[in-house]
């Protein structure tokens, strides 16, 4: 099964305590695609400007990412410049230039409209809803969002929830959207408004997945060094939704393995700038990390007699 992703394709300039990168591949759809491509074919819908070094996307095409939905518009590409301090926990945005992204109206190519797995990256919830009107019969619609849309488009976002099966948000966004300080209560609030699955990402503290019947928790992989945290959330989403598309299995057991695959991809991407590590990681390395996640939390309930 293919995954359709709609989101940003950007040029990032990032500074961390370990180095600097200028105008490297970034954006939610880019990270998502590079990550999901390890599990399933990907169909990408986004926009870039005239200045975009499209040859850099060749690596994605080679990994099975179909770029037929990448619009080339007149104007500048979306650029983000940010910096991480020593603790690497939060990015400081130095500059955001939306460029052609500010007028982005996603047009889903005819051959993408039958997608069964759809990920609506972090864009205006009105556009996310518009995308859904262009796809015919999706089996799983997942979306992401951010504080900006929760503030400025709250009603649209809540309306979108009715049409979404799964949402990924970070803990601060979950609290902001629901006005519940408690994460469990926040998840219940969202579950009551449409989605059957809510994933609450806590960055270096792991991720919770709530359904109406169960709660699952995946820790973040205990890395000895984090090089650049940019894109961890979208890489998580890519591994997660990509795994579901590959298995075409939405049982609780499969959703749990999907969260772990997401966590594994999130742990790889932060080992390098941009999507570099996602391009080199092998299936054997992914399987090995999934096994390490299993050992990390494994315990027997009772003492041997």
């Amino acid at each position: 099964m293919s995954v359709l992703v709609v989101g940003s394709v950007a040029l990032d300039s990032v500074e961390t305590p370990f180095g600097k990168a200028e105008d490297v591949l970034g954006g939610s759809a880019t990270y998502f695609s590079a990550s999901a491509s390890h599990q399933s074919p990907v169909q990408l819908v986004g926009v870039v400007g005239e200045d975009f070094p499209v040859e850099k996307l060749q690596a994605l095409s080679e990994r099975g990412v179909d770029l037929a939905g990448l619009e080339h518009a007149a104007g500048e590409s979306f650029r983000w410049r940010g910096r991480y301090r020593h603790d690497l926990n939060s990015a400081e945005t130095l500059e955001t230039r939306l460029g052609v992204f500010s007028h982005f109206r996603p047009k889903i190519p005819a051959q993408f409209r039958s997608a069964k797995y759809v990920f609506l990256g972090n864009i205006d919830p009105r556009l996310q809803l518009d995308v859904l009107q262009q796809v015919t019969a999706p089996k799983l619609v997942a979306c992401d969002t951010m504080n900006f849309w929760i503030e400025s488009r709250r009603d649209d976002l809540i309306a979108l929830l009715k049409h979404v099966h799964l949402i990924t948000v970070n803990d601060a966004e979950a609290r902001q959207l629901t006005e519940c300080a408690n994460i469990v209560q926040a998840a219940r609030w969202i579950l009551d408004r449409g989605p059957h699955t809510v994933v609450i990402k806590k960055g270096e503290h792991g991720a919770f997945m709530f359904t109406r019947k169960s709660v699952f928790f995946a820790p973040a992989y205990p890395l000895e060094s984090v090089f650049d945290p940019t894109g961890a959330g979208d890489s998580f989403a890519g591994g997660f939704i990509g795994y579901l598309a590959r298995t075409d299995d939405l049982t609780d057991a499969s959703l749990r393995r999907a969260v772990i695959h997401g966590s594994a991809m999130g742990s790889f991407v932060v080992e390098g700038f941009s999507i570099t590590r996602l391009l080199t990681v092998s299936r054997a390395e992914i399987d090995q990390r999934v096994a390490e996640f299993h050992d990390l939390v494994a315990f027997d309930k009772t003492h041997p007699a």
Copy 2:
């Protein structure tokens, strides 16, 4: 096997968004004992002043906590007054009156000196070392500490580490002690200085256990409401060390179950003020919560064929 605990016995006054409590039982040794008593007999060493309502400790005696090492000194008891804001993540200390605790010199009663399991609660590292000189042949020595001692008694604390098998610290303390921002590196730093096991507590974000051979992670139980977070860390330690004493088994498998028992007790204590919930919780409830922790993180590595 009994557990010997040395630490504070205090009167706490706490205000949370859900209510107020005045002069209720508090202190590290109190929380530890109430928690550990569900697993094994406890021997408590501490000090109270003339004003201490000793009848309140009757509930601990009834649970198998031997108070023969509780010194009654001339002066006021240790009192702490604190407040939690809406997010419940950090206590704001309004007043600390050390009283008789400021002159505490732990004297281990003769019948306690053969203890095999020893927990050195958060007191001056010089006193923690002094306690170790009074016990004859412990099988497991565990200690806790806090930012105050890391700042004021760093060399003594590092000297103590050579004599300690296991240390519990929170993530901020681990970073402060080791000057490593990364938790994994911080744990390695401590493991290089004596302890064979390092438990790094992250409060609502769970706990890591590092040994030289393995890493284990236990999430915090996803509670819908937290009433009063006071004592969660000491209740964790009580469940953890108490479980090890009960099983007298220090294998990796047993240490992992011990962390889960600690997490379970930490999740119960925050359901009420002081140690009230620890006095009412049943073995069946503890076993049930351990099983819930198991389900919370359970996943199969591979998709069924």
